[in-house]
Symmetry: C2
Subunit: 337 residues, 2 copies
Amino acid sequence: MPEVVKPQPTLELVAARAGVSRATVSRVVNGSPKVKAEVVKSVNAAIAEMNYVPNRAARSLANGRTNSIALVIPENTAKFFADPYFASVIQGAAMYLSQTEITLTLLIATESDPAKTSRYLRGGNVDGALILSHHSNDRSYTELAGSLPMVFGGRPMSREPGTVYLVDVDNIAAARTATRVILESGRTHIATIAGPQNMSAGLDRLRGWGEALAAAGLASDLLEYGDFTPQGGETAMKALLDRGEPIDGIFIASAQMAFGALKVLQARGISVPGDISIATVDNDSYAQNASPPLTTIDQPAERQGAVMAEVLVRLIAGESVPERTIIDTTLVKRGSH
Amino acid sequence: MPEVVKPQPTLELVAARAGVSRATVSRVVNGSPKVKAEVVKSVNAAIAEMNYVPNRAARSLANGRTNSIALVIPENTAKFFADPYFASVIQGAAMYLSQTEITLTLLIATESDPAKTSRYLRGGNVDGALILSHHSNDRSYTELAGSLPMVFGGRPMSREPGTVYLVDVDNIAAARTATRVILESGRTHIATIAGPQNMSAGLDRLRGWGEALAAAGLASDLLEYGDFTPQGGETAMKALLDRGEPIDGIFIASAQMAFGALKVLQARGISVPGDISIATVDNDSYAQNASPPLTTIDQPAERQGAVMAEVLVRLIAGESVPERTIIDTTLVKRGSH
DNA sequence: CTGAAAGCGCTTACAG
DNA sequence: CTGAAAGCGCTTACAG
């Protein structure tokens, strides 16, 4: 069986077939409004017959647009993907972009060579970037914001003077709401397992918990930290219980940590919500599969991803967009509170 | 604060600075061995000083290489990402590629417009593709294999005459091993929850179960199907129990399904492994977080992703690589058998 | 509304 | 070992 290598037809060939100039074919391909309707028709016919696909590189070179954006992912990809939240954000962004001509490029930020990432970003490889991780050492990205359209998922920790576009949920309000649910069930010794304090989500959720307790006139000293993972939740829960102080409610800053904490409680024969009432954040498989299923704050991660992509696309197009976009969260009451 | 838009320096500028021709700079950038060492040095100095980054589009246009490969993802991104197996494969591929100059482009295959995907793939946008989903309707991809280097994760169902490169685990052997573990614990009424039969993993694991039972002289009629998700596992487990036939062991074709099945068993007060012994495939968070933790076959998904990327890169480079690469699996004994 | 032509920033035979 | 020059396949002012 002979290898039939059909070469991709070029603009030139299409032009010849349609009996017009290359410029005209290019205009049709790009949807220019000033081409006569019948010409558009015949050019499109030629394109279809020849199965013409424009060459991306040539196009980029000529117009300075790459039609692709980067999604920057921290090196610890394992942990990153293990978190359903990030997977959903990516998904939302990818789905949004699939209706456009724009392509999503996965960029792993190598910690050993952070310059590589910024080189890539500045190197004209992409028209813009979506940044998802946001530890305190994110400074490099916020610095780049001046030279490349960028949109952050969540609030970056390093506050640069320039304009930083972000799409986020109101984590303070989310934590406040979740904590209030526990309060409403009549609990008065309400602990928290907070997230990492070098991430805005960790910081804000801790603050929301504190605010809710303060508003209720309760002390907020039952505090341990975790890293948002189930293991982190286990460790923190043990530490909390080992203090020997009474606890009848706990706001846990992520469903993954809550999942881990639940394991510890079960192992020690502490009933939920009987002895301890729990509320958390993230309506993911951890929240749903836990027993009892967790009362939680649903932050629509997929929607956040889509909105991030949309904001970036508009930024690239030169439109003016608001610097902050806040996505609404909803409380999902289940059996744990 | 004035916007300082430092324009990216071009090859030409670097050449001028280093006092050589553009051709020479290009050779240095591309690591050509036939440039005098001292010239290499001074060119590299100029590159570093000017912070030069080659323009990807220009490069692609000139040499016909895009330096990027596509990772094709089925439209149902949600389910796709929810499966830790796929996330790990992506991760492995991304990590492997991060040490190269090659970029990973996420391509969502729109079911409503499958032609769009193949147009993109053939359109010279990428040098090759990694295909992960492999339902029976994958024909379109195997057909493309002639015109673009492609590597499949798992065995594609549609067997085209041409050469199809794939990286897979031996699912038949994996299922056989898992089933044997149950047999060794002395069980004789061994059921299975099989995966979708339009995916090779589903097909092969069912076959492995059957083979192990046949070798032990046992009947293999306790069979239900699921879709690899926890919900699918729940439904299938119920159906199996509702048959009213004795069951003392079960091989479940994915950890996610096993997780769901376990819920049903717990709810009905059936003890694991006391009453029913369980073994499954996938050493993911579902297998680890289940209680009891699941005895399972660890298929190194991350490694598979890395190998897929490696095979594709070598294919693109024109090297000859074996058509099939099989990744070893290992048995992980835990509390469920 | 359409075409001729310059130009995008590289790579790569071809000479030397 | 190095340079001059053609060419990759588009887009886009500029004329007309």
